[in-house]
């Protein structure tokens, strides 16, 4: 029954200038109707390209006109602002740097909600404070639209190859519709629960990731100084209870693994500054929910200190370098 209603909803939501009935009826059928995209940065750009590649007409915008060029050349229609995107598309994906940008893109004077259509599906893939996601969802709901949070894990590489993981929060009935679009850009699309839980899952994962990375760096550094061979130590940890993603998949010590930033002077990968930002979100949500996160909090401070000392743009595994004795000391 919900499906039927949703069908009706779609009808209204998408019957712009009348397409035929069947076409209008379900989003999954409507897969070739336009998809809006706001935010064409390092991540948004390859994501929008993957939508185009899957045959979706894309209507996009970005505050920096030069960011729009590439997708425009690939066939996307560029408009002036988020409100215009909402005027032309009833499924919109947003990918923005931080909470204030999201607030502005949705609720600002030229924001999506100024022209959003009833029944629209708004998917925000930014990593932001879950309480902001909830606010946006409430504001969208008042206008008859559905807002879902769907932050990603995986970096620019995964965005390009369409291998992102999406963690999705929002009304469960809309998950199938969201998944259809997100599957064009990601290999995993996981439903997490009510709105905000996508952000929660993302933030939780990254907090534990940061703890694991710093912990691995400290441990490898200590072991090396105690006379252990780094490769051997990594092997021992990885067959024991010290094993973690940072030790077995993304080892921070140069020479232990190939194809990771530690082997390339910590270039590429996931920047320290971005990790510091995510840890700031984790800290904020922990503070707001009065949850003690002692190691998460210290991890945040360490990445913050690293930013202050010139590591902002290095991969977050460079904490190994930060902790290691400077040469010549």
């Amino acid at each position: 029954m919900a499906a039927v209603l949703r069908g009706s909803l779609c009808l209204v939501g998408r019957c712009r200038k009348h397409v035929d009935f069947a076409y209008v009826c379900t989003r999954s059928m409507a897969s070739k109707t336009q998809v809006g995209f706001v935010g064409l940065g390092n991540m948004g750009n390859p994501m929008a390209k993957n939508l185009l590649k899957h045959g979706y007409p894309v209507i996009a915008t970005d505050v920096f006109p030069e960011s729009c060029k590439e997708v425009q050349e690939l066939g996307a229609q560029i408009v002036d602002n988020p409100a215009e995107v909402a005027d032309k598309a009833d499924r919109i994906i947003t990918m923005l740097p931080s909470s204030p940008n999201v607030i502005d893109v949705y609720t600002g004077p030229n924001g999506i909600l100024k022209k959003v259509k009833k029944g629209s599906l708004l998917i925000d893939s930014s990593t932001i404070d879950p309480s902001v996601s909830k606010e946006m969802a409430a504001a969208a709901e008042k206008l008859g639209a559905v807002f879902m949070d769907a932050p990603v894990s995986g970096g620019v590489g995964a965005a390009s190859s369409g291998k992102l993981t999406f963690m999705v929060g929002g009304v469960e009935e809309e998950f199938t519709a969201a998944k259809e679009l997100l599957s064009c850009m990601g290999a995993n699309v996981v439903y997490c629960g009510q709105v905000g839980t996508g952000q929660a899952a993302k933030i939780c994962n990254n907090m534990l990731l940061a703890i694991g990375m710093i912990g691995t760096s400290e441990t490898m550094n200590l072991g090396i100084r105690l006379g252990l061979d780094p490769k051997l130590l990594a092997k021992i940890l990885n067959m024991s209870s010290g094993r973690c993603w940072s030790s077995d998949t993304y080892n921070p010590v140069p020479g232990v693994m190939e194809g990771v930033p530690s082997g390339n002077n910590y270039q590429g990968g996931f920047g320290t500054q971005l990790m510091a930002k995510d840890l700031g979100l984790a800290q904020n949500t922990a503070t707001n929910t009065r949850t003690p996160v002692p190691l998460g909090s210290l991890a945040h401070q360490i990445y913050r200190m690293m930013c202050a000392r010139g590591y902002a743009n290095k991969d977050f595994s460079s904490v190994f370098q930060f902790l290691r004795e400077e040469e010549g000391q």
Copy 2:
């Protein structure tokens, strides 16, 4: 006679291409000659039993006579002190609670080194400060004996089932001889490098383990308070970069996994007090080698605070309970 054979052994053992009669009497053949065992506590007891099970005559001692009963009934010969063990056996395993005990058992008035024979192989499976292992090795070497450190991972269960992992440090030429004995008690015997590196590997692993466990507990607690289902969150972490042994094998949240202490009110497993002790060792070695270990250090402090607040004998995954809001608050 054993001493003579040992002498031959050492000679040949270090000159492997030279095989003669003496070789026949080497340790691999001599496997039915006596093995000494000092320290019959929770871990030492099942370890000694496994030696007996493999057909080794065992000569053992412990400061607590009642600890000796069980292995005596199984055929071990009990003597008064470590010196007497050394008088009768040229391969000795020690399993003791802490550095001072090891110092006493080796160098005390009734210590092993008082009567150790030239060519003896002394294997210490205690978890202690690697610098103490080095001291013991130096003292043994002066008397013509070989000391190796071989701390274990795996608890009482692994000790009983002979599934321990041994991390071995010491002269590489003696590793084969050590492995022969240790294989009776463990499933993995890993050579780590010079003396002390077994301890180093053990300490490093447990430091990273503690960081991962507290990090997992913080993360799970935060996620739950943000509205995520604990099982779902664990699943998401385990398929993402937050994955670690504590999240996928020993999850600290009651109800997420079966067969782990969190499902049994944190009974059994690896006690908080023991983890605090290992973290103290990690801290000491880090301090002595002037290595920064910020998360390892905070993990130590958290387990120390838990001991002060009544968690000493609970499994170390009870940090989840420690961080979670008390009911009724």
Copy 3:
């Protein structure tokens, strides 16, 4: 009319030696005109009483009617909501528990700004996020009113005896007018700079206070366990570079000083929960300004863990008790 007077005030207020008729109508003369007060909790109550004591007619409101009783009996006029207070008074003091309350009291449907008069002086003594103070000031300014932040240090006792310290942020020209009112309730009124700096100073002080208190508790506990007499250790610290307010004025160890909560089972004083709240604000502002505060952050986490373990309502010096070994261990 008030608006006109306000105009005069400003003029004269900036031309102190020039006293004429207009002056008579200024705030300093107008001291017997009504003062609004919103928030009659543990702190607001005695503060409002002190205004009454100094002869100011008070118009007050609180969400809990029973909180209004006492000041009503002392002559204050009670109205239904903040908007009505603003309708009747052009100088208003607010004293509320947290940022959301302040946002609601100022900008909510029955908020002060709904009926605020041009030229009104709005002084918020709540301890909140400085960025919220700035927002309130901007909103007030649009309506021609002046908003200042003036959080206090000193607890309920200082509020009763009129000995609070006010840290004031806002337009410097209005400081004199603010000081006139605040002096009825406090012994020190310090001008800190632009709007929000009052909060900043308060937050900074309390962060350093928390660090000093935990640090003193750790240090005293360590010293006692190393065999030092607590009074002697306090004396040595206080004549040395370890000296701080927590060691020389508010020592957390029972028996070292008289008249402090440590001598009274940590009752009274400044609750752990309140300290945790202030540290949460410090953490938020630090995160927002990307400032590393490692010890401040850990202090926050420790007070948060204490709240989770049943210390929420004890004085914040009870961290000594939290860190000390439980008896019987």
Copy 4:
């Protein structure tokens, strides 16, 4: 002869009601007999000079011959090693960098205890692990000598001007004799209790000092970034509960105070490396006594990270610079 006098002294010194001729020859009379001094480094040098200045014949030694020159020119007699010092003087002061040096100088092959005379008074002013002090005291006692620990606070300047503070642990009956000598080099000589408590007091003070300094640096940095004037913020803290020695006497922010290292590019003062060493001692004693010191532990780690990043030789107040955003970021 000195030995004889010392013998008399001890007799009388411990039998206070029995005053006779021998008493006249006690240490206070014997003040012009020789004093031994081992360790003529940055601190030992000016200390020995002050003894000479007060008329004491000094017999000294140091592992670096060039360190002996200056005091030799001022009249001190230089001998080859600590044992020879002990052969010629029955009151000896030692001032050494760390625990291993102290162990060697007392118990090594050419150590003091090889030739120490019965009744000798041995005062160690090094900052070391209190458990080492206890070991030395026990070893000295077996030979009929008295060992006291008397670490100092105050740096090279205070050593030169004779304004050090000595914190003394040991047998109370010998405190008067120790004080007589120490008063030539220090302004305060405080009796702390049994042997080791002098070290405990020193370590405790420096741990709290480090916490206060980092806390002050974080707080000042945060306040400045929130728009507060540094001098004003320092003033507010110093009149409030955030006050501490680091905020009111040794402020780490350039320009806030004069005559402190922050005003001189953090040159001079108390080096980060030395603070890290003292915090390592605090950490070790806390670990050994199973005392939780979360902030002390993190302070240690921060100073350790600073050493790794090139701050080893800057004054410990340079933590302000370490935490502050690098210019150009």
